[in-house]
């Protein structure tokens, strides 16, 4: 009696008339007029699900900060403001686009057998229904969508035009991500996708979120062409060192932290299953970092920090699909393999002329695919060839859909508005060119680069060039290998 009384008193005292209105008016809740008198274990569990799902969503949101830092840290100081703006806008523009369109495509009732939805734009027909769960579910899904979108900015860093990028970012959130999402996850709400009907396992989105982001990044990086100075005349890649490893590392720690919400929160239910998921997540990240570190130590004779950071993320991406259906020992193996794979994958793309400044394609695309496959291979319910085949189907569908859709989208943008900044702007830095800004106005950044000749000469000097000398400077032609 004491506690019930206390709850009543508090809920009235604390929430006051505003919430009372809320409860009776907009939403019908466990604390509605009759409800308050009759809390049941079921209604409390439902409340617990709200709390858990939303806290997990907040953690996933925080991953945006992690992405911003990783991408800023792994690129040059002269582009830091720009990459941060792109990350902030991935969420801002993406959230609005997903609210308006994407959520409906992904989770609305579908009239086709593929599963793409066609009801519920602007959450319109959901809100009337009375069940506030749609808000909790939307909140969790919108931060997932933002994650997929933000992956792309890293691979396109230091040369993608800001205005066009915003359009792309809006469309990946409104269309590209939700359409594939509806195939695999539509039935989490009102939809029903063909992949989930086949038994496709992608618990928290190795494919749905990470591979989709990674393959869109691949198309983007490829269509943009490499950063000027990234390749020698003989097409040999040259490293362009990122300007702040501590910021990049902080980004990785933040992503790791947020990933617990990403994986464990995907239950959207606060129950005992979240424990195993969390353990698997932590262990795979750990072995991912170890795997990449050891691989570079063997190959390069030194434990490479950039790769180790990528390896940690690779482990996280890889466990995302199977975090709920593999054992901890399997998680150790899945993460370790991802850490090894990511090192070779980064080098592979680098050599093929795809310039991905942060390793997004390898971390999210390749390791997302690996993780999805692994969720089938290591399924703790036993190995089944059918499951593995369905996993491969899902991986392949994601690749084809995303590459095709991104290709069309970037292609149209390229021939219409242009997707790449001018050479002068690239030299001067996108901070100046796109935002007339400096990330670190008080610090002298090196004008004389290391290995990458255009790593820095471009800096402040070029800003001036760009600003006073009109359109075109003509640095000797052969030095530049801009492709876009």
């Amino acid at each position: 009696m004491f506690y019930q009384g206390s709850i009543l008193k508090r809920s009235v005292t604390i929430l006051g008339p505003i919430v009372a209105l809320l409860l009776s008016g907009l939403v019908s809740s466990a604390f509605g007029e009759e409800g308050a008198a009759k809390l049941t274990a079921d209604s409390v569990q439902l409340n617990l699900n709200y709390v858990w799902t939303l806290i997990a969503a907040f953690l996933v949101f925080f991953m945006q900060a992690g992405f911003a830092l990783v991408e800023a840290g792994f690129t040059r100081a002269k582009n830091a403001c720009n990459i941060i703006m792109k990350n902030l806008m991935d969420f801002s523009v993406g959230a609005v686009a997903f609210f308006a369109i994407g959520f409906a495509l992904m989770f609305g009732t579908s009239s086709t057998s593929l599963g793409v939805g066609s009801t519920g734009f602007f959450l319109s027909d959901f809100a009337r229904e009375g069940d506030p769960w749609v808000y909790a579910f939307f909140m969790f899904q919108v931060v997932f969508c933002a994650t997929a979108a933000t992956i792309v900015s890293g691979a396109m860093a230091e040369r993608a035009k800001f205005s066009t990028y915003l359009i792309f970012s809006a469309l990946i959130s409104a269309v590209i991500y939700p359409v594939f999402g509806s195939f695999a996850w539509g039935s989490l709400y009102k939809g029903s996708g063909f992949l989930e009907r086949l038994g496709f396992i992608d618990f928290a989105g190795s494919t749905v979120v990470h591979s989709v982001g990674g393959w869109a990044a691949l198309v983007g990086a490829w269509m943009l062409g490499p950063r000027t100075g990234k390749y020698t005349q003989g097409k040999k890649p040259r490293p362009i060192p990122g300007h702040s490893i501590p910021l990049a590392a902080l980004g990785v720690f933040i992503l790791f932290f947020g990933w617990f919400g990403f994986n464990a929160g995907s239950t959207t239910t606060g129950d005992s299953s979240i424990a195993l998921i969390s353990v698997n997540t932590a262990l795979a990240a750990a072995t991912g970092a170890i795997g990449a570190m050891v691989t570079t130590w063997v190959i390069l004779k030194k434990p490479d920090i950039g790769m180790t950071l990528n390896g940690c993320l690779a482990g996280l991406v890889a466990i995302t699909a199977g975090c709920a259906n593999v054992t901890p020992v399997s998680a150790l193996i899945i993460g370790l393999a991802a850490g090894v794979v990511v090192v070779f994958s980064v080098t592979f793309f680098d050599k093929r002329g795809v310039d991905d400044p942060v390793g997004a394609i390898s971390v999210h695309g390749v390791c997302g695919a690996w993780g999805t496959l692994a969720a089938g291979l290591f399924d703790m319910n036993g190995f089944a060839l059918k499951t593995v085949l369905v996993q491969l189907l899902g991986i392949g569908t994601a690749f084809i859909w995303t590459v095709a859709a991104s290709f069309v989208l970037f292609g149209v943008l390229k021939v219409t508005l242009g997707i790449r900044v001018s050479l002068e702007e690239e030299f001067a830095g996108l901070d100046y060119g796109e935002h007339k800004a400096s990330a670190y106005p008080e610090f002298a950044t090196a004008l004389i680069g290391g290995g990458a000749p255009f790593a820095s000469p471009t800096d402040l000097e070029m800003k001036t060039e760009a600003s006073i000398q009109g359109k075109k400077i003509s640095p000797k032609e052969e030095l530049h290998e801009s492709k876009a």
Binding site: F427, Y432, H435, K436, A437, S438, P441, A444, A446, L447, I448, P453, F454, S456, P457, T458, D459, L460, E461, M462, K463, T464, E465, A466, S467, I468, Q469, I473, S474, P475, K476
Partner: protein, 112 residues
């Protein structure tokens, strides 16, 4: 011996350095400086307001050579540093009375 000081555009540094190495200049010293001259600076935005950054970043190369090499050095710097645009920079030649290599104590042209 002469000391040749060249103020050049930063992105020409790789070519100028390679050019000087090519003609056998034994060493050089480089620093980052800020130039004021015909070429003017630019403006930036900060939280909604514009401000002028009135200098232009430049690189200074200092190289000490025997008198006999001066002409060659000047030509090389011009050839590699020139873009034809305002702000390409200057070369100044100053007399050097003595040069010493710290490692060995050698002096004169041998020490370069």
């Amino acid at each position: 011996m002469k000391k040749i000081e060249c103020i050049i555009k930063p992105y020409r540094i790789d070519d100028v350095r390679d050019g000087l190495n090519g003609i056998g200049v034994p060493g050089m010293t480089i620093s980052e400086i800020r130039g004021f001259g015909r070429q003017k600076g630019h403006s930036e935005l900060y939280r909604g307001a514009e401000y002028a950054v009135d200098f232009v970043p430049k690189i200074k190369i200092e190289v000490v050579v025997p008198d006999s090499m001066v002409e060659q050095v000047l030509e090389t710097v011009i050839a590699n540093g020139q873009t034809g645009k305002i702000g390409d920079g200057k070369i100044f030649v100053l007399p050097v009375e003595e040069s010493i290599r710290i490692r060995t104590g050698e002096s004169g042209e041998d020490s370069l």
